[in-house]
Amino acid sequence: MDKTVPDLAAAVTGIEDGMHLMIGGFGGAGAPIELIHALIDQFRATGSPNKLTVINNNAGNGRIGIAAMIDAGMVEKMICSFPRSADPRAFTEKYLVGKIGLELVPQGTLAERIRAGGAGIPAFYTPTGFGTDLALGKPVAEFEGRSYVQERWLKADVALIKAELADTMGNLTYRKAARNFSPLMATAAALTIVQASRIVAPGEIDPEQVVTPGIFVDRIVKVADPRQEEALMRAGVAYV
């Protein structure tokens, strides 16, 4: 069982128009920049995939990563908790003229909905958002006298995530706070595509230290010296 693929183009093949994509990362930490840019390359070359719904905590920063996807015109809708950043113009410009959709979800609810999608829990109750505009239209229920909002699972066709270390069976570890949403997204997508800084043979990751077990991973591509979104931003890099 070897889930590695030879290059980034092979890693992102088969992603279709209209799909829902979970993309790991919180701000720049954990953003799989190389996978995202490979997908942009594919869109520029073929016009596809287009009309994507992207699920991420944020909505892009500057002119790289998710922001560059939005700039390229591939993204129909964002599902996120915080569509602001140091340089949010890609999303903001399109949003203010109605050219991109937004489903705003409280951050913990976003995480829990993705976890629920991966764990086969179609709905759950949370105190978060009760009585606020973000709970409008959602069922509510009382438990022991306290009010809760019913939230639904969130799944995706594809997850793009960045790992630190992978074995060829797909067991993963992450780097510091770059972990964030990625272990959850890996569980909630039909196809989970991983870029890893290093790939080792099975047995070279201590089974105690695996964060994402290989069962959740479909493709692994090596990106030996991955770029960091925040560092690129600060260097003024644009992927146009």
Partner: protein, 223 residues
């Protein structure tokens, strides 16, 4: 009774349907034998509910580490590429549809796909373990079982009489006599022992056996 497969032979037959690279959960007890009969060149990854992926055979006696066990509380070993995780993550794998197949034992299987395998009725000590989770989680839920009970009664029935483990969950049954799919709330005969006629198998089955096109001989090596 005429010819029938041994437990090992049933396990062998079930193993032939497991693809290379499949993630598999085997029920406690006799279904665990399936792991021994993976066809050459194929390597499945076995999951156990108590938080281990990619475990291997039992260790030699005296070599057991009792912190390294399977859901049946038997000592296991690890293969390269194993992982440990907690129970909620483990059942996230189960319930979330990440296992390709679960192969379980049965008291009764109904033509509706209902399974009864956890309770023989209101007396005694009830115990369910992970069975109810597994039947609603794996992409494919198969049963491996003698075709009839010890006293010769059909285990494949129209409706289960024992408490259910799950509703409409089983899609294939490997028995000591036949391989039977459950489709559209019917038992569809796919393979039967060549020594038995269709009527022989039907006579030992508690609901109508349907034939779609044709069925094959169930041929299993001596084991």
């Amino acid at each position: 009774m005429k010819a029938k497969l041994s437990n090992a032979q049933m396990a062998w037959r079930a193993a032939q349907d497991i693809a290379d690279g499949a993630y598999v959960n085997l029920g406690i007890g006799f279904p665990e034998m399936v792991a021994k009969f993976q066809p050459p060149g194929r390597q499945a990854v076995f999951h156990t509910e108590n938080g281990v992926l990619n475990f291997g055979e039992a260790p030699a006696q005296g070599e057991e580490d009792w912190d390294l066990i399977n859901a049946g509380k038997k000592a296991i070993t690890l293969k390269p590429g194993a992982a440990f995780f907690h129970h909620a993550d483990s059942f996230g794998m189960v319930r979330g549809g990440h296992l390709d197949v679960a192969i379980l034992g049965a008291y009764e299987v109904a033509e509706t796909g209902d399974l009864a395998n956890w309770s023989t009725g209101p007396t005694g000590i009830p115990a369910v373990g992970g069975a109810m989770d597994l039947v609603h989680g794996a992409k494919r839920v198969a049963v491996i079982t003698d075709h009839v009970t010890r006293d010769g009664k059909p285990k494949l029935v129209k409706r289960c009489s024992l408490p259910l483990t799950g509703v409409a969950c089983v899609t294939r049954v490997y028995t000591s006599l036949a391989v039977i799919d459950i489709e559209n709330r019917q038992f569809v005969l796919r393979e039967k022992l060549p020594q038995l006629s269709f009527d022989d198998v039907q006579a030992l089955t508690g609901a109508a056996l349907v034939v779609e096109g044709t069925f094959a001989d169930l041929v299993v090596p001596e084991l």
